[in-house]
């Protein structure tokens, strides 16, 4: 409501400015006050509109509304996860919990098998990420610095690997893994990523490629004259200069592997022969399993369990949130500096 009120007040002021004669005289006890209309207009609309008060207010209100939209699901999740069962059963209760109830988190912690799933999640996200970064740097450097025949063709293929829907690629891959009895093993993640076919690899490639492209060639040339070979140049000179982009890629790859519940439920959430339970239960899978186990229960219990469910959701993304708020500078920097679409 507040933003609308502010907008109304501002509009009213603008209207007054337009429709009253100059100068405006306000009669008060101590005598009339003269307000110079031109001065007010300058403050309100600025020299060229964009530095005026009206424009600024409008922009900030817009930003606040949009960020509310962006944050609303998060706020909703947090508040629901803190609701006691009483509030959940009562459909008339509003968004805010009547009292803070942390038992939901204890329950969710137990249901998810949190520590174990967390450990598994970190491994499943970290290993392929390392491969993504290593292969990504090598490939990007190769494309950015060397000329070789069929370069354009390989570049086009790189873009195609990004465009092809995962649904199509995963059909034959699934068949192979089934044939090689790899389903349910972490090798299904490591094999593709160690050969540069990990999740969203082409995107990381583009970030690294445009960063390498922007490095001055002269540095490397002078090293070459000093007698360094290609590998030495790559490791000693080029790589240290693109560390911010490497960190960005590392973070993104980690986050997206962490979140990728579809691949996980397809390749990892499978009981391997000779085991009684899937070995690699990551947090998203644990969350899915927990939700599915709730489906068997009655309607009423599902409603009562909403708090626990939201707590579980929050717990499963908590490591990412911490990660993001601590390292958010790096998430943004690499992309901003390299500018994927640059030249």
């Amino acid at each position: 409501m507040l933003p609308f009120l502010i907008v109304l007040i501002v509009l009213a002021l603008v209207a007054i400015l337009i429709f009253t004669p100059n100068p405006i005289i306000v009669k008060l006890h101590g005598g009339p006050i003269r307000i110079n209309k031109k001065k007010v207009k300058k403050v309100m609309l600025g020299m060229n509109f964009t530095d005026g008060l009206v424009y600024k207010l409008f922009i900030y209100i817009f930003l606040v509304i949009v960020s509310f939209i962006f944050l609303y699901p998060m706020i909703y999740m947090l508040l629901t996860s803190l609701k006691p069962q009483m509030d959940l059963a009562d459909s008339a209760s509003g968004l805010l919990p009547s009292s803070l109830y942390f038992r939901n988190y204890v329950e969710a912690f137990k249901q998810l098998g949190y520590l174990k799933a967390l450990y598994k999640s970190i491994i499943v996200a970290m290993l392929p990420t390392l491969f993504n970064v290593i292969i990504g740097c090598l490939t990007a450097y190769g494309f950015a610095r060397f000329n070789f025949p069929l370069k354009k063709l390989w570049f086009a293929i790189m873009i195609i690997t990004y465009i092809v829907p995962t649904a199509l690629i995963s059909i034959p891959r699934y068949a192979w893994y089934a044939k090689l009895k790899l389903l349910g093993s972490i090798l299904t993640y490591i094999l593709p990523s160690s050969l540069g076919q990990g999740l969203c690899f082409a995107l990381y490639f583009m970030i690294l490629y445009s960063t390498f492209k922007r490095l001055p060639v002269q540095l490397e040339e002078s090293a070459r004259i000093d007698g360094a070979n290609n590998l030495q140049i790559f490791f000693r000179i080029a790589l240290p200069l693109v560390i911010p982009s490497v960190i960005t890629v590392l973070l993104f790859s980690f986050v997206w592997y962490w979140n990728d519940s579809e691949t996980a439920s397809m390749y990892l959430n499978i009981v391997k022969a000779g085991q009684d339970a899937p070995r690699w239960i990551t947090l998203p899978i644990a969350l899915q399993n927990f939700q599915n186990s709730l489906l068997d229960r009655g309607e009423r219990e599902i409603i009562l369990y909403q708090g626990v469910k939201m707590a579980a959701v929050f717990l499963s993304i908590l490591p990412l949130l911490i990660n993001y708020f601590v390292l958010q500078r790096f998430f943004v920097e690499g992309i901003e500096k390299s500018g994927i679409a640059g030249e």
């Binding site: 964009t50 649904a167 699934y174 579809e262 994927i340």
Partner: protein, 316 residues
């Protein structure tokens, strides 16, 4: 130091020519792991899927038994299958509305953030946050609670607007608003990419235009938009690919229609579950899906591929 740099510049050309073959070899060595990977894990699967899409193929134990049937699968997909054509139609409707909308939104936000604005870092953190946490179970959980939709129908003003305009556009607007938050959540990376592009624009061009009497509005259409075209293309590709691969958005769409599956999931059930029509049919659907995505991206490429620059850039 200066001397060395100069020397390297002058000696660069003959050096490269003499060692052309060596440069080829080292280039290929650097990208060798990727080439092996792309052949095994991407190109070969595509070829295989293409072949199997013309076959009646099923799993027998651990191997695939295939018999060649020409276009039977494609005929079945469009003529007999009741679900797939509706899914494709819904998907097209969605993506045709959502991509331009999200791109416009991202450009708008990034242009605002590119100005002299207080707490710029904070806004950026907020707008980028969803890109971090967006994930299958998390969002589907939030969606099932109805916390990701801004319902048009329940809103008086919204329903009034929808009832006035023709049915088709009304439907488009409903689609947009039903998934508004979800679509906005995906704009984190496009906003960043646009910001990077805007920061690289030369301020002097605007000054020159202003001196020549161009308004802000004109300089947006004549300077900002043309110089952002390559960024728009990249973002369009990003949005199309992300939206097509994320089952969430489609899930939300198709749940009202025929089933609660996305196209990707529908394809997966064809070969993983007993009720599916098997491996060959799944490949066929995948190929059709790929074709649609390529067409759509091609459309954007036609509009936004940067034209050959009339003035050659100096430097580099």
């Amino acid at each position: 130091m200066n001397n060395v740099v100069k020397d390297s510049k002058t000696s660069r050309k003959p050096f490269r020519l003499d060692n052309k073959k060596r440069e080829w070899a080292s280039g290929y060595l650097f990208i060798l792991p990727w080439i092996i990977g792309v052949c095994i894990f991407t190109l070969w699967p595509i070829i295989q899927a293409f072949y199997y899409s013309f076959c009646e193929a099923v799993f027998r134990g651990n191997s695939i038994v295939a018999t060649f049937t020409w276009f039977e699968n494609f005929k079945y997909a469009f003529a007999t299958d009741t679900k797939f054509p509706t899914m494709i139609r819904e998907y097209l409707l969605e993506i045709v509305v959502q991509v331009p909308f999200s791109l416009t939104f991202a450009l708008l936000i990034s242009m605002i953030l590119n100005q002299n604005i207080k707490l710029r870092g904070m806004w950026r953190v907020i707008y980028f946050l969803p890109a971090i946490i967006i994930s299958g179970p998390v969002v589907s959980e939030l969606m099932s609670q109805g916390s990701t939709t801004i319902s048009v129908a329940s809103d008086n003003i919204g329903s009034a607007i929808v009832s006035i305009i023709p049915e088709f556009f009304g439907k488009l607007i409903t689609i947009l608003f039903d998934k508004l938050i979800l679509v906005l959540w995906y704009t984190g990376i496009p906003i960043l990419i646009f910001l990077a592009g805007l920061q690289r624009l030369n301020k002097q061009i605007y000054e020159a235009a202003a001196i020549d009497g161009a308004s802000k509005w004109q300089s947006f259409w004549k300077i900002t938009l043309p110089s952002m075209s390559s960024f728009i293309l990249v973002n369009a590709v990003y949005m199309i690919v992300t939206l097509s691969n994320s089952s969430l958005i489609q899930e939300a769409a198709s749940s009202e229609a025929t089933s609660t599956m996305s196209i990707a999931q529908y394809i997966a059930t064809q070969y993983t579950s007993a009720t599916g029509r098997g491996y060959g049919y799944a490949c066929c659907l995948g190929i059709i899906y790929l074709g649609i995505i390529l067409l759509h991206i091609g459309l954007y490429a036609l509009i936004f591929v940067p034209k050959k620059p009339r003035i050659k850039k100096g430097g580099r």
